[in-house]
Structure formats: C-alpha cells, structure tokens
C-alpha cells in the first residue's frame, strides 16, 4: 500500500506541475506553429499504451531504471496530453487581463503562471490530481514489467498473484480488494466538493 501511495503521490505532483505548465503555455503564449504543435500533442492520446510498452521498456532498460520506480514516475513529469488539454481549456476561460496586468507589474510568464494562473486553477488541479492518482493506483502493466523485487510491488501487482493460471482465489482477492479500495474511497469523499467543482469548470468527464 505504501509503495502504491508513493508512486501515486509522485505521479500526481509530476502530472499536475507539468501538464498545467504546458497547458498554460498553449493557452497564453503566442508562438508560430502553436496550433500544429497542439494537434501533434493531442495525437499522442490516440496511441494505445500497449504499442509503446516494449520500445519504452527497452529505453528504460538501457538507462538501468528497470527494478526502480523511475519508469513509473518520471514520464509523468513530461506532461500528459489529455490533462494538458484540460488545463489549456481552463486557462483560456480566465480573463486575459489577469495575465496582462501581471506582465505590466513585471512578472515573467513563468512567474505569472506560478503566482496568478496556478492558484486560480484549483478546481482543475483537483480534477487532474484525482484522475492521475486513481490512474496510478490502478495501473498494472507498468508495475508488472518494471518492478522486479517484491518489496517494491504495488497493490494491483500484489493482487494479481491470487489469480493463478488455472484457478483464482476469490477468498483472498475480495478482502484484499476491499482494503485496497479504502484509500481511494476516502480520498473521494474528502475531495468530493472540489472534484465536482473542477469537473463542472473544466468540462472533464469520465
């Protein structure tokens, strides 16, 4: 459980920071070819993860990262196209004057992002954080191929051991699944209000 919590926490931090920064850039900065770049970014959403799994594994294997949490966490610090889209849409809904006045006050674009845009983006941050946390919590394929030592296994990987090749063991799967559900359920109840506001604001839907 602690392993999963660590991976999920780092994933959330990386996803929120990187996706919000990239989304802010697409929403507020002017650059030639921005539209093409954004279309290219969105096209990566269409790639199934199974297609990129083996080449990515080869890459991380050559870097010596297999057996560590790095392959599970580091890619999330390079922005997720779907969440970039969410943040871009949110930042575009904010009045342009806010960023213009920050610029007039001497803020660089990065400072305007950190001091003006991000604090206003709490609902969007809540949505992305919850989605990223749940995604990291439920992820199975990546922990399966990258984690080699039992002491580093996540909940989803540990649960899979009770599903044998010829027989499953529901007497173990069900109670363990129930315990694994508790943190996610608790997080949902605690963040429910912020989550609902965020979904309404960003238009994000499951």
């Amino acid at each position: 459980m602690l392993n999963t919590a660590l991976v999920a926490a780092l994933t959330v931090v990386g996803t929120v920071l990187s996706s919000s920064l990239v989304g802010y850039a697409f929403a507020t900065l002017a650059a030639r070819g921005k539209g093409v770049l954004f279309a290219l970014l969105l096209s990566t959403v269409m790639l199934p993860s199974a297609v990129t799994l083996l080449p990515t594994f080869v890459l991380f294997s050559r870097l010596g990262w297999v057996g560590t949490y790095l392959p599970l966490v580091v890619p999330h610090f390079f922005a997720n196209a779907f969440y970039v889209f969410l943040f871009r849409q949110f930042f575009r809904s904010l009045p342009r004057d806010l960023f213009d006045s920050a610029e007039l006050d001497g803020c660089s674009p990065l400072a305007a992002y950190w001091h003006v845009a991000l604090p206003l983006a709490r609902p969007a941050v809540a949505v992305v954080a919850v989605f990223a946390a749940v995604g990291a919590y439920n992820e199975f394929l990546e922990p399966l191929v990258y984690l080699t030592r039992e002491s580093t296994f996540t909940v989803s990987l540990g649960l899979a051991f009770f599903d044998g090749l010829y027989v499953s063991q529901p007497q173990y799967v069900i109670p363990v699944s129930l315990v694994a559900l508790l943190p996610v359920g608790l997080a949902f109840f605690l963040a429910q209000r912020a989550l609902q506001r965020g979904i309404v604001t960003t238009g994000g839907r499951w």
Binding site: L54, V145, L165, V167
Partner: protein, 384 residues
C-alpha cells in the same frame, strides 16, 4: 649489501610486489559471488514453500547470490516478452510447458548441453514425456521440476445425492456422460432428464468443462481422432470426419445434454472465475494436482479422485502440466546458472518444496513419491 646490488634488486622487487597485488585482486574477484536473477511464476502458497528452500540453496552456494523475481502466473508472458525485447531475460527462468517452445524457438534459452558442467545422466531420472515440452531439434533446453497429470476429481456428496456409484478406474467417456447428465442440477434441483428442467438456470454442471482449448488434444484423441496434421502439431485439421465427430461429442455434452460448460474458467457461467469444480459448480471433472491443495485449503468439497477415463482404444490420455528451469541465452554466468538449476531440480529440493507440501508432483522419479500421503496412499503406490 653493497649499494650497486640493492639498486639492481629494486626493479625486481617492484615487479614482484606489483604481480602479488594483481594476483590478490584477481583472486578476490574470482571469489566474489555472481548475482543470478531467477524469475518464477508461482502462487503465494507455492512461494511460501519456495522461498525458504531457495534461501538454503543460496547459503549452500557461495559462488552465487540469487535475486528472486516473482511474477503473477497469468502475467508471465508479458513480463518475459518485455525482458526478451530488451535482451535482459533473467539468468534463470522457470517456464511453463505450454509456453516453453515459444521461448526456445526464439533463441531465448541456452541448450543445456552447452552449459559448462552439464551432466546428461540426470535426464534418466525423469518420467517419459516430461522432457518433451522442453526439447527441440534433439536438444534439451530446460530441466523440469514439476509434472502434474490431470486426474478425475469427483464430488462425493453430489454422487450420493444423485444416488450414483462413484467413478471407477474402468470408466469410459460414455460412463462419464451418463453420470454427468444425472448430476446436473438447475435452480429447482431438476436434472436434464426431468420435466421442467431449465437449461438457462443451471447451478451445478455434471462435468467441469468441455472442449475449449487447443491444448486439449487428448480429449479428441480419446475418440480415435487427432486434429494435429503433423508430428509437431504446427498445422490443425478440423475437417477430418473423425475429428468432427469427436468435437461434436463434446459440443453435444454442452448443447444437448446441458451437462458441460462452454465457458468454464472466466466465471461467465458459474459466476466465479476459475475452475468450476473448485468453485463447487461442477460435480466432477479433470483437474491437475494443484487442485488438491486448493480443495484442501477451501475445505468446501468432499472429493476423491479416479484415474483418467478410458478412450475408445482402451488407452488413458491426460495432459501433463509441466514447469522447468531454463538458462537465458544472454546470461553472462552460464556455469553458475546451471549450478542453480541443478540445485532447484535436486530430488531433495523437489520433495521439500513441491512434493511434501502438496503443491505439485515432482518431475523426477526419485522425488515423485514425496507427494504421496502415506496415511492415504493408493494401493500399489511405490514408496508406501
């Protein structure tokens, strides 16, 4: 000593000291244990028996240190393919018989004869047929540790409730079919022979499956047919009239007799994933030795076993669930890897890890009797 003499001696002493230092370093490097990675796909219960025995092997072999990489049984292929793509397959891999050829034919494994120190005499201690899944082009590519055949498991309470005699070692497939029809029950406890039987509301099937997988060749051969068109079974022929008749027999068990399942393992029919007999949703069926431990653990079914059913030619046929240890072709330590494989397939290790705990039947003749419970041994069982 005169000064001129000591000056002539100095270079010699420097060379001597240097050679000594280099030799010491080499000797130390030679004594450093190599790290061997061992990938296994086991259930938690099997791992619980395996770990302490593996630790003892590790302690007894100072030339290597073992890093265990457990993987869920159902996810072995994904992990192995990813590691193979990166050229980082673990030094030693425990492969299942059904998927071994895929690794062997891709050049992923080492021919055991090429491993330094391999003694082919060890192969004489294996039951016939056990080595076949791990042989190709005349070479042996893995050493088996377990080889569990399927036998007929039956629910004694279900037979008592239906007023039927228990299966005997003389049973044929037709005997099984007749009993399976009488053992099948719907939600109102009707059998397919009763008026009002609802085939859409079956809660207990007489037989725990039907013909559902390509590896169930033995269920077709039992009827005098064979859907493999060549010796290596690389080509299927389901147009042969005998094959069609055999397949039709199994289809009728499901569609006409309503005594078998068309989807036994996913839980779509029974509501519980996994084998229907273990789930209490079937009165009898073929299962491997793994089912003994599972059934004893669950304690919900009063069961017994009988020999596999007799085919039309009077022969019994059963699949063998085998596992074996293989050395990766890319392993930089084949000598030490072979030493590990030899230790993991030693009769004492097999008896302690697989036989006595009741997880599986050891593949070696000298270790197989360890699986027998002396208090309940079948008559004529060797070693009892």
């Amino acid at each position: 000593m005169p000064k001129a003499g000591s000056r002539r001696l100095a270079p010699f002493l420097v060379v001597l000291l240097g050679a000594h230092a280099a030799g010491t370093a080499l000797a130390q490097a030679a004594r450093e244990p190599v790290t061997l990675t061992l990938m296994v796909a086991m259930t938690p219960q099997e791992l619980a028996s395996f770990r302490p025995a593996l630790a003892a092997v590790d302690d007894a072999h100072p030339e290597f240190v073992v890093e265990l990489e457990p993987v869920p049984q159902g996810a072995f292929t994904e992990r192995a393919n990813a590691r193979l793509a990166a050229g980082t397959l673990p030094d030693v891999v425990r492969v299942e018989g059904l998927s071994a050829q895929a690794l062997i034919r891709r050049g992923a494994l080492l021919d055991l004869a090429a491993a330094p120190g391999f003694d082919a005499a060890v192969l004489d201690d294996y039951f016939p047929g056990v080595l076949e899944p791990f042989r190709w082009q005349g070479a042996t590519w893995a050493l088996p540790d377990t080889a569990s055949p399927d036998v007929l498991f039956y629910d004694k309470a279900a037979f008592d409730e239906a007023g039927l005699a228990y299966p005997t070692d003389d049973w044929t497939f037709e005997d099984m079919r007749q009993a399976a029809i009488r053992l099948t029950r719907d939600a109102n406890s009707n059998s397919p022979l009763d008026d009002g039987f609802d085939p859409d509301a079956v809660v207990r099937w007489g037989w725990n499956g039907s013909l559902t997988h390509f590896w169930q060749r033995h269920l077709v051969q039992a009827f005098g047919a064979d859907w493999c068109a060549d010796d290596e079974c690389t080509t299927f022929d389901v147009t042969d009239p005998d094959v069609v008749a055999a397949v039709r027999w199994w289809a009728d068990l499901v569609q006409v007799d309503h005594a078998g399942l068309h989807d036994p393992y996913s839980g779509g029919q029974t509501g519980v994933p996994g084998d229907p007999f273990l789930a209490g949703a079937a009165a009898m069926g073929y299962n491997g030795f793994f089912a003994v431990g599972q059934l004893n653990d669950l304690g919900a079914v009063d069961y017994d076993v009988a020999q596999p059913l007799l085919g039309v030619d009077g022969q019994r046929r059963t699949p063998l669930s085998t596992n074996a240890y293989a050395i990766a072709a890319t392993s930089p330590h084949p000598r030490e890897a072979l030493a590990l494989v030899t230790a993991l397939t030693a009769p004492a290790f097999l008896a302690e890890t697989w036989g006595r705990p009741g997880h599986a039947v050891p593949a070696r003749r000298s270790a197989a009797p360890s699986v027998v419970d002396p208090g309940r041994a079948p008559a004529g069982c060797p070693g009892t």
